[in-house]
Symmetry: C2
Subunit: 200 residues, 2 copies
DNA sequence: CAATAGCAAGTGAGCGCTTACATACTTACT
DNA sequence: AGTAAGTATGTAAGCGCTCACTTGCTATTG
């Protein structure tokens, strides 16, 4: 029983199976046989569509690097000079996106640790963009005299760090957030700390 | 020319070579042959001292889990209710330690991503301890009415996150800190933001 | 000599990738 | 329309290599 599919559809199918495996077990930890099995096809098919295992991996990373409208809602808040709104939007989108597709974070970490050549591109599209958006907003608000005159880039990384670390221990080590606090509340707290500090 | 060494010394020598390789290339990415070569011995010697490759890896993780006096200086500041001092001490120790031995962070991430059974122990000794120390300090200062009544654990993770993320992009993606700011200044800024926020 | 420390040379399993071949669809000619 | 030739899509089997781990042996030490 052989179902014939279009080349494009097959590729999609292979990529889909591969993403799941690469993100769970890394490049080296994933066997091409497993990918074939998960996609429900023979191993040779993978190599009909991708010259090497590495090429398949690269295709995935490049696809995942596609920068979507992650910052749309944050940009709206930015236009209205709604500081808390900007932070809230950035933080929530990060969490939302990671929870919808946890493979992204794992792929990013794996690619960096394993030293894949495309990990830089991945990093730039997925992390650097965030840093730059937030730091340029902070810089603007410093000029407006609404924020203290601090290093905007370092500060931006600080806020992103709060959220990333929260996601990291959540996704990587399975640490659950306290039952009483939703991710909205967590982001709200991070934003409040970032803007007003924890001193009373 | 065969130098005979004591079993213990050999083990140390093997472990030393293995740490470097495992942290750079992960468990699956490291060949036992490479470890032997790096240690200047034959591959068979490794298996005289460690039954399996995995056992060697576990030995390393357990050794690296040894909690040292990371929090000594922070505890001193804590006794004096020196809030900025506590944060500074925690942050600086984290950076200092990571820069002195970058393998630790990489091993921690690799073990978590690759799903090693000991990664939890590793996490608890290296991360959870920090979270608990800082969150209990924050709780105390909330009782003192010096901090606002926030979720202490989430807040603590927030501060740790700022520092961790800074180290992460530094060590993993090779992002250099801006030339004008030393790690002391970065930590100082994180502490200031955490306590007072960035609003003026 | 007994025990330990060492190595060269395997061994079998598993890996990425290839080959030889079968089956479905497309095209073109009558 | 019918069919032969050509092409794209698929598979089963396996090749060559690398890996973790073993074996069989020698050298050194107490």
């Amino acid at each position: 029983m052989k179902e014939r599919l279009s080349a494009e559809e097959r590729r999609r199918q292979i990529v889909e199976a591969a993403v799941e495996l690469f993100s769970r077990k890394g490049f080296r930890g994933t066997r091409t046989r497993e990918i074939a099995e998960a996609a429900g096809i023979s191993e040779a098919m993978i190599f009909k569509h991708f010259a090497t295992k590495r090429e398949l991996y690269s295709a995935i990373i490049e696809a995942k690097s596609a920068t979507d409208e992650l910052l749309a809602s944050a940009a709206i808040a930015a236009r209205q000079h709604d500081d808390a709104g900007v932070l809230r939007a950035v933080g929530l989108k990060m969490i939302e996106q990671t929870e919808a597709d946890p493979s992204l974070m794992r792929l990013l970490l794996f690619s960096a640790l394993e030293g894949h050549e495309l990990s830089d591109i991945f990093f730039e599209s997925r992390v650097k963009t965030l840093h730059q958006f937030l730091s340029s907003y902070i810089r603007k608000r410093i000029k407006d005299k609404r924020f203290r005159a601090i290093d905007a880039l370092v500060a931006a990384r600080g806020f992103i760090g709060m959220v990333v670390h929260y996601l990291l221990i959540h996704e990587l080590f399975g640490i659950k957030r306290p039952l009483h606090s939703s991710s909205e509340e967590v982001v709200e707290l991070f934003a409040a700390i970032f803007l007003k500090g924890i001193e009373r």
